[in-house]
Subunit: 228 residues, 2 copies
């Protein structure tokens, strides 16, 4: 089995990506980050998902992004609530974390080089969240090109790193249907940016809004409890 | 004054780079990393250098690279001693840390985006240490291209990030002469991978060998104490 590094946040997209990498026959090295994000619950979800998927290893790395700031996810900026899907899709949201995906992918590249993996799986998609610059195909291609110049394995020609983004052109409903067909238990995942004190998803942040719309359009029941 | 992020390890190259960025009139945001490196003394050097250079801010971020491993600097691999300059220049050394410069530059990019900087200064040079893939000009160009696709500021066209590597084609003696002419106190810097228990530079690791050769060729006295 060929090893693959899979970025795993514990949400719907990365969990479905993990299941797709498994279906392709990869031995799975799941990589998560504690980066000062508000929704630390997603790390617990990542651990549940990794265990359920039978990964070879799950590495959770700490990052100091909170000290860099600049995002509603890592600094004291209010997370927007109750926005429409149209409003969410317009412009770059305040939940954008500067260079976050570049930092995540750079660590994935380091780990891939050490364990001998070529494929790095990343659950980016452009349709629902077109506002994130570091989810676009031209960005992913530029990262892949840089990655093969950056590394010993790339330079020596012994390996060619690839960024695999199988969800890139799926909408949320298609992603959920794909995960469902692969046997993903979405009850293990987490999406909400600001869960309530009693552990429910808020139902109103951008992440909840897109998730619920996706389940509704997929005609599937979202197993998570919602406060609103 | 235009803000610039400067990667600062506390060695000769990054210290000279910091002095060059200062001479160009930038307001300086120095960025260092505690990444599980053996030679933690370089962080103390970075703090001394940043203070002496009058930086606007010095941020030291923690990274979990030790848990990824794969390098003599972060894992339990012996640092080579007593190698000739020719041997050091041949091939990629065991002190190469997988994707390290990509991880460093990704954090610099994040900080640059938050503070409104365009220039990221990086003391890479290809001549003495041709073995590091992530010091080559083609790598730096690929990173710069990726960086402008990755970020909100790059996408909106409000800024263009540049990777400034002013030492790229200098040898160590030229770097030392440049730093000297800018008033750098090299007694504040640190280079050795494995200092002795009594706080001297070992004199035998690749980093010491290249540093001492550089000072000798520059015709300048190296103020550091050496054990051998």
């Amino acid at each position: 089995m060929k090893a693959a590094v899979v970025l795993l946040s514990g949400g719907v997209d990365s969990t479905t990506t993990l299941a797709l990498a498994k279906k392709q026959g990869h031995s799975l090295y799941a990589l998560s980050f504690a980066y000062g994000q508000r929704h630390a619950r997603e790390l617990e979800a990542a651990q549940r998902v990794a265990a359920a998927c039978g990964v070879a290893e799950h590495l959770i790395l700490s990052l100091d992004l909170g000290r860099i700031g600049g995002s509603a996810l890592t600094a004291d900026i209010r997370v927007p609530k109750g926005r429409s899907v149209q409003a969410i899709g317009a412009g770059i949201p305040v939940t954008y974390v500067p260079a976050r995906n570049t930092i995540f992918l750079a660590h994935a590249l380091a780990w891939a080089e050490v364990i001998g993996a070529e494929a790095i799986f990343f659950g980016a998609n452009v349709l629902d969240y077109s506002g994130y610059p570091d989810c676009r195909p031209e960005y992913l291609e530029a990262f892949e090109r840089m990655a093969n110049l950056a590394t010993k394995a790339g330079v020596e020609g012994t390996r060619r790193f690839t960024i695999q983004a199988p969800l890139l052109r799926m909408n949320k409903a298609e992603i959920i249907r794909t995960g469902h067909s692969l046997g993903v238990d979405f009850g293990l995942t987490w999406s909400c940016y600001e869960p309530t004190a009693d552990g429910k998803a808020c139902g109103l942040c951008d992440s909840c809004v897109l998730r619920r719309k996706g389940f509704a359009e997929a005609g599937l029941r979202d197993p998570l409890p919602y406060a609103a």
